[in-house]
Amino acid sequence: MNRKQKFAVGSFVIVAAVATLIYTAARETSAYFLTMEEYAAEAQAHEGKPLRLAGRVSDGSVEWNPRTLDLAFQIQAIPPRPGSDEAAEAKPVALTEAPTLTVKYNGILPDMFAEGRDVIVEGHVTNRVFEANTLLTTCPSKYEADLEQPEGHPPAGAEAAAGRIASG
């Protein structure tokens, strides 16, 4: 094997290693990203699987306990923006018929969280309840909306958090 071939083989090994890393990591950490409509269409298939779900917080559904930091709310499909192509195509659906899903979360409320806001939750569904470990809210304004605000639990690793309430 001459030098050129050696380097070709070496470079190939590195490229293959990077590709393998990407492949395995993608397989282990990827999650379906669905809108509420897509989720509702085949809810059973997504039971227990990692999921990212986009929806709108239903009016009057938010229950928040500031002592325990337990949050529960319903999400529903985000209606198409008025004037968009989808809005013209969409069939009118009575609000009561729109499928909803209960989301449970524990943590400090993100600043932008409110009823009627669009959110993205990450977690999985167990018995028709979405257990979210991340709650992302979207800013209502225009261009700045790209400054999403990740709140809640950071990714794995920090779960072994220590700390307790001491009296006095």
Binding site: R3, K4, F7, G10, S11, I14, V15, V18, L21, I22, T24, A25, A26, E28, T29, S30, A31, Y32, F33, L34, R52, A54, P66, R67, T68, L69, G107, I108, L109, D111, D118, I120, E122, T138, C139, S141, K142, Y143, E144, A145, D146, L147, E148, Q149, P150, E151, G152, H153, P154, P155, G157, A158, A161, A162, G163, R164, I165, A166, S167, G168
Partner: protein, 663 residues
């Protein structure tokens, strides 16, 4: 004023098109007057975009809410500093700001090359003006920043409170300067390909520009991380958000280029690869601009479609097709006479380092576009989150750090076993020793131990280089240690400046590793007067103070910080309720030391039960990231400093030019 601004961008667009066409035609027909006209157009373009920026600034300062942009991104109570920052706070303004920086870079390039690179300059001018014309065309035809409303709102809807932060006023300009200045090396690369003058000239001319753009990309990324850290309130600084990735990718390819270009200078190798990196870096900056403005990629961004996406994609496609076609056409001229001799050589280390940089860039790219790709290919959107990026990039980052230790002291061409032993014995022992100490001190995490070990190794090799160089000067010249060190750096500032940047990278790396692996987090409700314990700290909740200004209402928690029973001081995390976009924001408070950051967030406060809910993070060694940022700043300045030889050659080259005009 809006008419003046509007006129300026329309004229700027026309002038840019003319300048690009005149430069190209002039170069092809060898018509000097056309080329000169192109140069003049470049200056006019700079002046016109400058006028447009001033016009928008004036409208903002005059608080003319009849202008849609002013009404959307400022208000009558917005402080002056943030009113200026509103120039780049909105999409339209940011595009104008982008064009303006490009125009300034272009003018500087024209001035620098008045008497140099005359064959290449028409192509450089054309490339930069076409890019400028593209950005201005968006403003002229699609989103007019000077658009007036049919009515005048009494009040503006204000700048997003998240952007009303110190870091946010300097982060976007830095990043834009970094992004935009990559156009200069790209333009010279295209000019080199077009003219066939593929020697060292274009690399020497753009060396400092490449470093300059890398410098600002680095600053932009660090400022952005600092902004996320103090503003977003989730205890971290980097979330692998597409917007962050957009700024990180060109930094990676630019870093790769800064290394591989040394191989071209010294060994006349990797010429094609360097071209590819320059083209890739520029394409990634355009891709990044596309990402942050199109709403195509990020889930959260899908609410912010601006309709600019297709235009960016077409421009990006055109850039790649034209530049790769030129590259392919010139491939025969780019053949290298030399080739790699041994795997154990500095050349090979640099090659490996490049593969890793590009590998990381590809990983980030892949993770960012994965949702879109999966939707195209399989019809479902699949996303990957931070764990994906961390899982792939952690081993690649470690390997890169290891190479950073190897690269500076391994021999060129071919390193013998005995030379390897001599050079690496001490650093390897230091590295392993550090790993053992970390293990003994209780760092029970495999990644952390390996990372500390490799960091110590890399640091040791760099410091050995300084030490050896200094000793040589001390014995040869009889200089005092500090004199020897400063002269050593002064004589070879590119090399030693680079080493200083390496030291900075070790600091940043350690900060990242320690803060992500050993982070502690807790969320809890606590009554006034009670305490929370975290790590070695105790935090006592001393009460709530409310403040109100016309702009914002502030609710402030007073937290006393104790360590080992001794009071260190107070921190005041806040909740703010902005009045104009009715929006609450979180203001974190941080007790920062070299060892760790105590990062406190006020969640809610209930006046009846006197219970405040807090989220508290203990982030070990995170300060080293910011310190590393400062060190990187100095290191890069040392690199960019003109050397003695350059200063004198500039001076002498001016003399004959001046005497010619005199005679």
């Amino acid at each position: 004023m809006s008419e003046i601004g509007r006129l300026a961008i329309v004229l700027g667009f026309i002038v840019a098109i003319w300048g690009a066409a005149a430069s190209l035609l002039g170069a092809l027909r060898r018509d000097k007057s056309l080329v000169t006209s192109g140069t003049h157009a470049a200056y006019a373009f700079s002046a016109l975009t400058g006028i447009a920026v001033l016009a928008l600034l004036q409208l903002l300062l005059a608080r003319d809410f009849n202008v849609e942009y002013v009404a959307s991104y400022s208000s009558s109570t917005l402080p002056l500093w943030y009113t200026i920052a509103a120039l780049w706070g909105g999409m339209k303004g940011s595009l104008l700001w982008w064009t303006f920086i490009l125009a300034v870079c272009n003018a500087v390039v024209q001035l620098q090359n008045r008497r140099k690179n005359r064959d290449q300059m028409p192509y450089v001018t054309a490339t930069m003006l076409v890019t400028g014309a593209f950005f201005l065309s968006l403003l002229v035809f699609i989103t007019d920043p000077f658009e007036r409303l049919p009515f005048t709102p009494t009040e503006g809807s204000d700048l997003n409170p998240l952007l009303q932060n110190y870091w946010m006023t300097i982060h976007p300009p830095s990043l834009y300067i970094g992004f935009v200045s990559t156009t200069v090396p790209f333009a010279f690369a295209l000019a080199a390909l077009a003219t066939g003058k593929l020697g060292d000239a274009w690399i020497r001319t753009t060396r400092r520009w490449a470093l300059f753009s890398w410098f600002f990309l680095s600053l932009g990324n660090i400022f952005g991380a600092a902004w996320a850290y103090v503003v977003l309130g989730w205890g971290g600084y980097w979330a692998w958000d597409p917007v962050e990735n957009a700024a990180f990718m060109p930094w990676l390819t630019s870093s790769a280029y800064l290394h591989s270009v040394m191989i071209q200078e010294k060994k006349d190798m990797l010429k094609v690869w360097n071209m590819v990196l320059v083209i890739l870096t520029f394409a990634l900056t355009i891709f990044g601009t596309f990402l942050t403005r199109s709403g195509v990629i990020s889930s959260v961004h899908s609410f912010t479609q601006s309709g600019l996406g297709p235009f960016f994609l077409i421009f990006l496609g055109a850039i790649l097709v034209i530049s790769l076609a030129l590259l392919f056409w010139r491939l025969p001229l780019l053949k290298s006479k030399n080739e790699l001799e041994s795997v154990f050589s500095r050349e090979a280390t640099f090659l490996l380092n490049n593969l890793l940089f590009v590998g990381i860039a590809f990983t980030v790219f892949w993770g960012t576009v994965f949702p879109v790709l999966s939707e195209w290919v399989r019809g479902v959107k699949i996303t990957v989150g931070p764990p994906f990026f961390n899982q792939v990039n952690a081993p690649l980052g470690l390997a890169l750090m290891f190479l950073m230790g190897v690269g500076p002291i391994i021999a060129w061409r071919r390193a013998s076993w005995s030379s390897l032993k001599r050079a690496f014995a001490v650093p390897v022992i230091i590295g392993i020793g550090t790993g053992v100490i970390a293990l003994v001190l209780g760092a029970g995490n495999f990644y952390a131990i390996v990372a500390f070990s490799i960091s110590a190794f890399a640091l040791a090799t760099v410091l050995t280089e300084f030490w050896k160089g200094m000793r040589v000067r001390q014995t040869m010249m009889g200089e005092a240690p500090w004199v020897a060190l400063s002269r050593l750096i002064g004589k070879n500032h590119r090399r030693y400046g680079g080493y200083v940047v390496h030291v900075a990278m070790v600091m940043i790396f350690i900060g990242i590793v320690a803060s992500s692996i050993f982070k502690i987090e807790l969320q809890t409700g606590v009554e006034v007067g009670k305490s929370i314990e975290i790590g070695g700290y105790t935090v006592r909740f001393d009460g709530i103070e409310d403040e109100s200004t016309p702009h914002v209402e502030i609710r402030k928690a007073k937290l006393a910080v104790f360590e080992d029973g001794e009071q260190l001081g107070y921190v005041y995390p806040e909740k703010r309720f902005y009045k104009k976009p009715q929006q609450p924001t979180t203001e974190v408070a941080i007790w920062s030391t070299l060892g760790s950051d105590l990062y406190t967030v006020l969640g809610t406060y209930d006046p009846d039960s006197k219970v405040g809910v807090f989220q508290i993070f203990l982030n070990p060694m995170i300060s080293w990231m910011w310190i590393g940022g400062f060190v990187m700043f100095f290191g890069t300045v040392i690199c960019m400093w003109p050397s003695y030889a350059e200063r004198t050659s500039e001076a002498t080259s001016r003399v004959p030019a001046g005497s010619r005009t005199a005679s």
